[in-house]
Amino acid sequence: MKNTIAERIFDFLKNFPPFNILEKEQLFKIATHVKVHYIEQDKSVFTQNENPHNEFYIVKDGAIGLYRTMDNDNILVDICDEGDLFGLRPIIQNNQYLMSAVANEESILYAISVELLKEIIDSNEKVKKFIVASFSTNIKTPYAKTNNGQLFANEDVLNKNNAGISDVQTAQYSKNPITCTKAYTIQQAAEVMSVKRVGSILITENNKPIGIITDKDLRLKIATGLISIKEKVTTIMSSPVITCHKKITVAEAQINMLKHKITHLCITEDGTPNSNLKGILSEHDIVVLHGNNPSVLIKELKRAKNVDTLKYIREKTSKLLSGYMEQNIPIRFVSNIISEINEAITIKAIKLSIEEMETEPPVKFTWLALGSQGRKEQLLITDQDNALVFENVNPKDYDFTKNYFLQLAKKITNKLHIIGFENCPADMMGSNPRWCISLNQWKEQFNTWITKPTEEAIMMCTIFFDYSLVYGNVELVDEMSESIFESIDNYEIFLNFLGRNALRNPPPLGFFRQFLVEHDGEHKDQFDLKSRALMPLIDAARLLTLSVNHKNKNNTIERFKEMAKAEPQNKYLYEMCIDSFKILLRFRTNQGLKNNNSGRYVDLNNLSKSEKLKLKGCFKPIKDIQELISVRFKLNQIGM
């Protein structure tokens, strides 16, 4: 008999995990056996400590709040809305409900019986994984060792479309590498290379690669007369060689080369140096395959003579970025590469600007990147945040010096603007007279911010504290840093103010209607990924590292790594923060690439359920790190 009602329930469930990964027949069976509940507002579905029902629930319409009562406090743990699933753990583990489920508004629920679920778990491995993962995101302490790495397991399970990524291009390597044995002399090897017209030769033993000689070795070690051509190849070969598997992707190959600062990779049977040689992959092979090679871009940059070329390179960098994102390259590598290129572009812009000035800079100076560029977390083109420090000068020379550097800074920021880095709306740029000042003035400025921490001052600190040297004199920066840390040491309460600032944006509880979107303005009804998810982690990392005197790191991931080392007892929390940060940064980058903007504001309606779940998983560590900060800096007691 046709069952129109079950078909509609099927159509609803198939949009949400884990139902979206079920076989059609399995899901239809579930849909046929659903019981529809109607829960009035403020009525409960189940209460804490109640014995488990024989069914779990999916919200069809409305919203169900999950509350946990502890010591008379009724804490809202989560809000489930359309498509969310709840009440599952107790029926699987057969123990009491840990939370109460109460309708925040009238709701319609689909109830699915435990027997049906068990049947499906037994036959579908992916569903099982999803369920395990959903437990670890819901339990109270997800930082227990056993859960390490599972917090975001949802991500893998849910992206079923990524199961067989086909768009990762496998690198094409030379399958007949030129080789010789270690008995060869350098001269013999060079002759082979000339005859075969290749730039490198592999030295093998029992068909396993033990070393490599490239044109560069011949140029540096032989042509200079350092070593005789009569010597054996082993005297100049680079050893051991870096090997990889034949299934290596273009992106992985690039990363390997960058990481090891090499230009050739050996391809072996199983990817280790102990198996048979299958071929060789050179940087040139990749350049041929892939026009947007980072080292090629850097080379082009070095030769660039004008701003237009820089703009062109920056555009190519954006293409490179989207390629990396598609191939799911680790975000840390991606941000390293993109930051390197951005920095090189900025340096070139500075050099071109100095050439345009009529005279050389009168004294030493330093160009600083601030904010996300300073932290090397800038993936998409965002605003420029920068500043200029110049050496202290006699009062009589001050005006002249300042004018010179202001002019220079204007040239630099103009160029950056043309290249594609938008001007900072708050004018935090070296071309602003306030941020183009001498070393002593900077010291004083920081000291004022630290000792008189008004709201504005704290805001400035969060931007200016994450500086990094881009161009110029390193001593100026070091001296400035010293002075800042001295000020902080003398005025420790500053950290509490910074702490309060770090808690400014509590993480959202869940994706529940207007709960966490912007209420007005241009981005009404959108989720502010930057200030609500990324900034809380960035602020927390900065504050914590400052408080334990690890002052030389200014990258969020590095900072959390430092913290994990400094406080092993909180290692899991810090690692979860790193995971969250990476996921969020990747998320923002993908959003930005997709919508061709900064990726800061996300329209929740355009997110898939699995994307929402992924984001939701990131909020828990934010909440926990904020609690840690609140306790550590006694923020409840300042009375502000």
Binding site: M1, T4, R8, T32, K35, V36, Y38, I108
Partner: protein, 221 residues
């Protein structure tokens, strides 16, 4: 009076239905009552000339809609009114598997069992089914029935006493999403959801018992 009916010779399936309803012990405890939310699509509104095209139904018990306890059939047509095709979408020779009127009624009575009928404007649906029963030489339905229209009217102190609320109006008032409007199963589901919501409201004002619900119903003349 009772023995007069007994004298008439009815087929076995009809007698089974009658005895199930008459002997049902469930009506005194609300949680035990099986309600069957039903809707019929017909060729028109004339009891004498129009016919039932399809019956859709789903059970409601203990405040839950039991999706697996459902009924959905399409009936072969001798009367065809092309005007209503655009409302219900059932063509004379459509693709749905169709049953004869008799076979449809046999299956429906078996499904209905001792349940209480729940519908919107119950008198119309029950009336249409009764006409079909009569054509097959059977009696009228003896199931108890409730009507979402009347339950609603009982609760709102509506000065507009004579007003008849449509299913769409009630869906609007009680915020029930209306998918599959004008299919028998779709309307049956909407009616069932309305019923759950009405019960929630009703429970606040009245002790919940079947007699009260039934008494909210103004019997079909």
């Amino acid at each position: 009076m009772f023995s007069f009916f007994k004298k008439k010779k009815y087929p076995e399936f009809w007698n089974t239905y009658v005895s199930k309803v008459e002997n049902c012990q469930k009506y005194s405890t609300f949680e035990n009552i099986r309600f069957v939310a039903l809707d019929t699509e017909t060729t028109g509104f004339d009891f004498n000339n129009d016919r039932v095209l399809s019956i859709g139904a789903v059970a409601v018990q203990a405040n839950k809609i039991i999706v697996s306890d459902y009924f959905e059939i399409y009936i072969e047509q001798e009367v065809f009114n092309k005007e209503t095709v655009k409302i219900h979408g059932i063509r004379r020779n459509g693709t749905e598997t169709k049953l004869s009127e008799k076979e449809a009624l046999i299956q429906f009575l078996e499904y209905l069992d001792d349940a209480v009928i729940l519908a919107h404007h119950t008198s119309f649906d029950v009336g249409m089914i009764n006409m079909a029963l009569e054509r097959q030489g059977l009696g009228s339905l003896i199931s108890k029935s409730v009507d979402t229209n009347y339950i609603h009217k009982k609760m709102v102190s509506d000065s507009n006493f004579g007003k008849i609320y449509s299913l769409d109006e009630l869906s609007e008032i009680y915020n029930v999403k209306t998918h599959d409007r004008h299919t028998a199963s779709g309307d049956a589901l909407i009616t069932a959801q309305l019923f759950l919501k009405l019960l929630g409201k009703y429970r606040k004002n009245y002790a919940l018992n079947l007699n009260d619900l039934i008494n909210s119903h103004y019997p079909f003349s």
